[in-house]
Each structure stands twice: as structure tokens, then as C-alpha cells.
Symmetry: C2
Subunit: 371 residues, 2 copies
């Protein structure tokens, strides 16, 4: 199977918000559907910490994407109607430039020598892709999880850049509980003796740190209620491990998730994007969130969140919806009763498909030419 990923190569220095720059960068993205003649039907999707730009299958790459049930012909984000572009975040290791990319000055991966990354930088890089595609105004900016933070930062930087905004299980800033979880994940990685201050190799990989980080990630991505139903106190010693006692099904589940992840993601990319989320507060320098969002000229905003989400809790979605409403934007909060926690948007499609479809229906009925 081929790849549908396109690469934008930029031969200009990219300056990071917290200082320093890199001489150029690559941005990976994929598209679905056709951009109309007025370039007015584009929908940009920015992603969470780990997904690539391959959000859905297409003719060039029929493998399932990370949001397969949401994007495509006749799906909630209908590629018959919209030109969809999904951009791999700056700082990722899935095609766009990040800490794992080769530093042209040294010929070696940047690793910890990569400039400090912020959500604002991810947003600014995404804008380069839109400029390359000649898109001046999006029909909608969409972002789940960290992608919602990036989309918010992008809206702040491009106040009239989109007519609509869909935030999914995201937030306008990080709260201390989420910072604590991510801080501990990073600590597990950087204190792994194999981390070697970022000089790990495929043969000497901070495997244990990544395992612990991923398991803690899963604990924060799902919910106690889901696991109570799904695993209860069932036993299943699926993996032979050297650990003291790992016989519960929930332990096998975490072990499985860790084994799949450990080598699939670059440890420094993970650390950089994780810290970027902690640092993010769209209201920095403003008196409050509503003030920060007041220059953004959206027609509407839809904020979807989940009650069982402990990482991007529902009250943060409420704050975001309220702040948009305070600017006179047609803003609505949709609180879904999914039990799968933060990850619900990736698994509870029975709820997320209609919620997203109905927002795009409303957008399209509002955009209908008046007869």
C-alpha cells in the first residue's frame, strides 16, 4: 500500500515562540475531497499527541485512519462536501519535523537540541500548509484533544481564518491534574537509564520509561467506569512478565497497550508535545478566556466533551463554549455521556458520529445559497 501523505518542504527559518529557530522544516499532511473553485470548502483537522496525518483511508492509502468513521464519503465530515486536510503536528515523529528529525547542521537527530515547542508553534506551522494550498478561510477548524488546543491557537493567530470551529475533548489551557499526569510520564521517560539525555538508539531505547508513560497515559485516557464494566476483577495472565503479580485483565490490557506503543513513538517527540500542552493557555496575557477569544470572528463554535474525561474535563469544555458565547458567537456545548473517558472520541462512535454529523449539517444549511 502506498502512502497518501504529502510533504511541504519549507526552506525558510522557522522561529519558535520560546526562542531559537531551525533552518527549515517539513510538514506532513493528507487531504480528502476536492477544494472548490472559491477555495471555500476546506476543513482543517489538527491532531492529538500521537496520530499521524492519516486520519482516514483514501484511494492512495486504503489502510484505516485514526478517525476512519468520521471522515469520508457520506460520513460525518463528508468528503463529498468538504475538502479535508489533516496536518501532522510540528514536533511529531510522523512525517513533520520534530526532535527525531535530522538537524542539518549536525547530520544527527535534534533530540533535546530541538527548540522548545509550544502549541503556538504547531498552529503557526499548520498555517504554512494552508498558505501552500491557497486557503484563506476555512469552512471549519477541527481539533480533538491537543489538536483542539492547536486549532484554538491557530484561530487566535488567524482571527478570521475560519467560519466554524469544532473542539472535541479539548481545552483552552492545561490544569494541574493533567500537568501532573504528563509530568510524571516525562519523568518516567527521562529517568530511564536508556534515555541517555536524549542520545538513545534503536538498540538502547528507553523502553521501560515509555512503557510506564504509556500505561499512565491509558489510565488518564480511559475511565474507571469503563474498566469496571469491561474488566471488573477478571483475571487473565496474558503476558509473561518479570513483574511481581500481573494477573488481572486490566493489567494485561495495559501491558498490551504499552508493548504496541513503546517503539512506535519517538520519546523526545512525546516529551516535547506533552510539555507543549502543559504550557498552553490561550488566555495568557488576557484578563480571561472570553477576552482572549474576543477577536476571533467565527460564525459558530461547537464544543463536544465527555463527562468521564479526567484529562480534558467537561468543565473546561463549558468554559470554552461560554467564552465563545460571550463574544456573540453561536456557541454550543455538547456533553456526551460516554464512559470511555478522554478517548471516547476515538471509540464511542455511536455518540460521536451523530454529534459531529449534526454540527456539519447545521454548518451546511447555514451556508446554503439563499434562493
Amino acid at each position: 500500500m502506498g502512502s497518501a501523505t504529502q510533504f511541504l518542504e519549507i526552506d525558510q527559518a522557522f522561529h519558535f515562540r520560546r526562542g531559537r529557530s531551525i533552518p527549515g522544516l517539513t510538514l506532513a499532511y493528507e487531504t480528502w475531497g476536492q477544494l472548490d473553485a472559491q477555495k471555500s470548502n476546506a476543513v482543517m483537522i489538527l491532531t492529538g499527541i500521537s496520530p499521524s496525518a492519516h486520519a482516514a483511508s483514501n484511494a492512495l492509502d486504503t489502510t484505516e485512519g485514526w478517525w476512519e468513521p468520521i471522515i469520508g464519503h457520506g460520513k460525518p465530515i463528508d468528503t463529498n462536501q468538504h475538502f479535508v486536510v489533516c496536518i501532522n503536528s510540528l514536533g511529531s515523529c510522523k512525517g513533520s519535523t520534530g526532535p527525531d528529525s535530522l538537524n542539518p547542521e549536525t547530520g544527527k537527530p535534534y533530540r533535546l537540541d530541538f527548540p522548545e515547542l509550544t502549541i503556538w508553534d504547531i498552529a503557526a506551522a499548520a498555517q504554512r500548509v494552508l498558505e501552500h494550498l491557497g486557503i484563506e478561510q476555512l469552512r471549519a477548524a477541527v481539533g480533538p484533544s491537543m489538536g483542539g488546543m492547536s486549532a484554538l491557537a491557530w484561530l487566535y493567530q488567524n482571527p478570521s481564518g475560519a467560519r466554524h470551529f469544532l473542539g472535541v475533548s479539548s481545552a483552552a489551557s492545561s490544569e494541574p491534574f493533567s500537568i501532573a499526569i504528563r509530568s510524571l510520564q516525562r519523568e518516567a521517560i527521562v529517568t530511564d537509564p536508556h534515555f541517555h539525555n536524549g542520545q538513545y538508539t534503536a538498540a538502547s531505547w528507553p523502553q521501560n520509561g515509555m512503557r510506564l508513560a504509556r500505561k499512565l497515559g491509558m489510565i488518564s485516557y480511559r475511565s474507571a467506569g469503563e474498566w469496571r464494566k469491561r474488566f471488573g476483577r477478571k483475571e487473565q495472565a496474558k503476558y509473561e512478565t518479570e513483574l511481581y503479580g500481573m494477573n488481572y485483565k486490566v493489567e494485561s490490557y495495559l501491558e498490551n497497550a504499552a508493548r504496541k506503543f513503546v517503539k512506535q513513538y519517538d520519546p523526545c517527540s512525546y516529551i516535547y508535545q506533552s510539555r507543549a500542552m502543559d504550557w498552553f493557555n490561550v488566555a495568557d496575557g488576557h484578563q480571561d478566556l472570553a477576552d482572549a477569544l474576543s477577536s476571533i470572528q467565527l460564525v459558530s463554535a461547537r464544543i463536544i466533551g465527555v463527562k468521564s474525561d479526567i484529562l480534558f474535563p467537561l468543565h473546561q469544555q463549558e468554559e470554552l463554549a461560554d467564552a465563545f458565547a460571550a463574544s456573540g458567537i453561536n456557541s454550543e456545548l455538547v456533553a456526551l455521556p460516554s464512559i470511555q473517558g478522554h478517548d471516547s472520541f476515538l471509540v464511542d462512535y455511536d455518540r460521536f458520529k451523530p454529534a459531529i454529523a449534526s454540527y456539519f449539517s447545521e454548518i451546511m444549511s447555514g451556508e446554503k445559497p439563499v434562493n
Copy 2:
């Protein structure tokens, strides 16, 4: 300052529920108040995973105990009225025999050669102390956190052993979310290269594993709501660390908690007690919890829990209170709105003092001799 801790030395083999035995054991305990002539006024307190038997100060040891505001003259558990005995759990490293104790057969600490520990063993060991003190029936068995599990197991083993039961932020079994948290804590410890399969020394200590475990502990012991209020996004780089970015106040708080704990607790004791909690389900072998508790002959049970507790969630307290009620026991749930999570019983004394005091008042008014 002297110690008020007493030690019961038992020169008989102690058989563990999951098999194996040790040739003898030591049990550390402290007492407050006077046992009356009928030995009818005793209150037993079993503890959470880390506290010692020093629950409160007394004449021999005036240092503050871990439940200082609760136990003493004129306090909620009033030592003018009750003879209070707090027993350090079997498996702990605070005086009672545990993995850190010397194995008389080898002259070295047991460590991973200690028999597998269950909550049932902790309960059976506690009973030895009561027998030694000549107490046949307690006025009340009290247990916060893991101590509530141990007290429940003890009631199961001694169905007419107490007239009243006070469970505080505890549970009748462990659910998968709590198992997952504890499993990850153990994994952090045993995968620390300095753990050496339990053969660590003071000079080569699994310091990093213990740090990570303690920080994850704090994340599970407190609550997002408390931290939102207390820390918000405040910055305070209190500690110089080698870690990538640790400038938030919540991170300094976790770092401080970790530094205090790392050398204060034996890693194997921690692992053994942690797993004992996972394994615990008082209803094992019964059709349900009510059936498991049906032989217990209490006059009353009071179950206090906290809405913000993610480790011993409130619905588990409800189940416990309901199960006692199903046996015709005067059982009542008190759900407190404390925001400090599982640890509320150690910090939110404004709520816990009156809740515990009123239960003991009710107990005493019920025990008043009829005129």
C-alpha cells in the same frame, strides 16, 4: 522522645492464606485510654498502607500521630471513653513483621522471599494482638483506606468480634482502576535497576522507582478539583532537577512528596501491601457482597466516603453501606463533599471530625445503661 509502641512477639508459625508460613512474628501497636474492667470499651484502628501504629500522641511519645485530630481526650474517638488500640499492619515496615524483617533462617531481610501477603493475613495478625490484650469483643472496629479492608476481613473472620464498624474511605474489594494505578506503581519500583530483584541496599536503593510510585500515589490520593484551586497554573521552580521542564507548582508539590517518601518506606513492604489490596474482595466465594457480610453481627455500621475519591470511589462506599443494611444492621452512608480526594480523611478535619464524633456519640448513647 521515647516511643509508645509496644511489640507483641509470637513464637508460633504464622500461616499465610495464599500458602507458606513464617516461624514467628512481631506485631507493633499503640494504645490510648484505659481498658475497662469488662474489657468492653476497646476500639481497634487498622491503618492504610503507610502509617505506623502511632496514630496519635500520648505521654510516652508526644510527637503528632497520623490521625492526631481524631484520637485523644475530648476528640472524636475520645480516649476518656474508649481504650484505643492501633495495630501496624503485618507486612509493613513500621515495627510489625514484613518483607524488610530479618528472616531468622537466613539472617537477612525476607524481601521477595516473604510469603504472599493478603488483607486476610493482616486481619488475622491483628486478632493476635486483641487476644493478647484479652479483648473478646470490640466496641468498634475502625479502618480508613486499606485499614477498612483489613477491618472488614477481620469482621468476616470474627463475626461477633465488634458491636460497631466505622469504615472510612475504604472498600470491600478493589476495582480495576485502582488495580491499574497500583500495578503501575509496583512496575515503576521493580523495573528500577536498583531494585535488583529485591536485593537493594541503603546505598543502592530503587530511588527513582519509589519517586515515580509516590508521585502516582499522590495523583490518586488527591483530586483534580483540589489542585485546580490550590495550584492552578502557578509556577514555582522550587527544586533543581535534571528533568526536562518542572516549573509548575503542582510539580514542585509532587517532587516534595516524593523526596520525603523515597527512603522512609521499604519498597518490598510497599509492593506487598499494594498487591494485598488488589487481591482483596471480601465477597470472594459468595454470591454477592451482602451474602459475604450476612454472618457479621454488628449493631451498627457507619461508612464515610468522599465524592472526590478516585481510588476508593463513593459508589463502593454505597455498596458497602447497602450490603450491611441488607443484613438488618443499622447501616448509614455519610458522603462528604471534601475536595481533597482519598486523602480527605487525613486533611479535611473540618468535615471528618464531626462525622466521626457524631458516630461515636450515637454509639455511646446506644450503650448507655438503661435507668
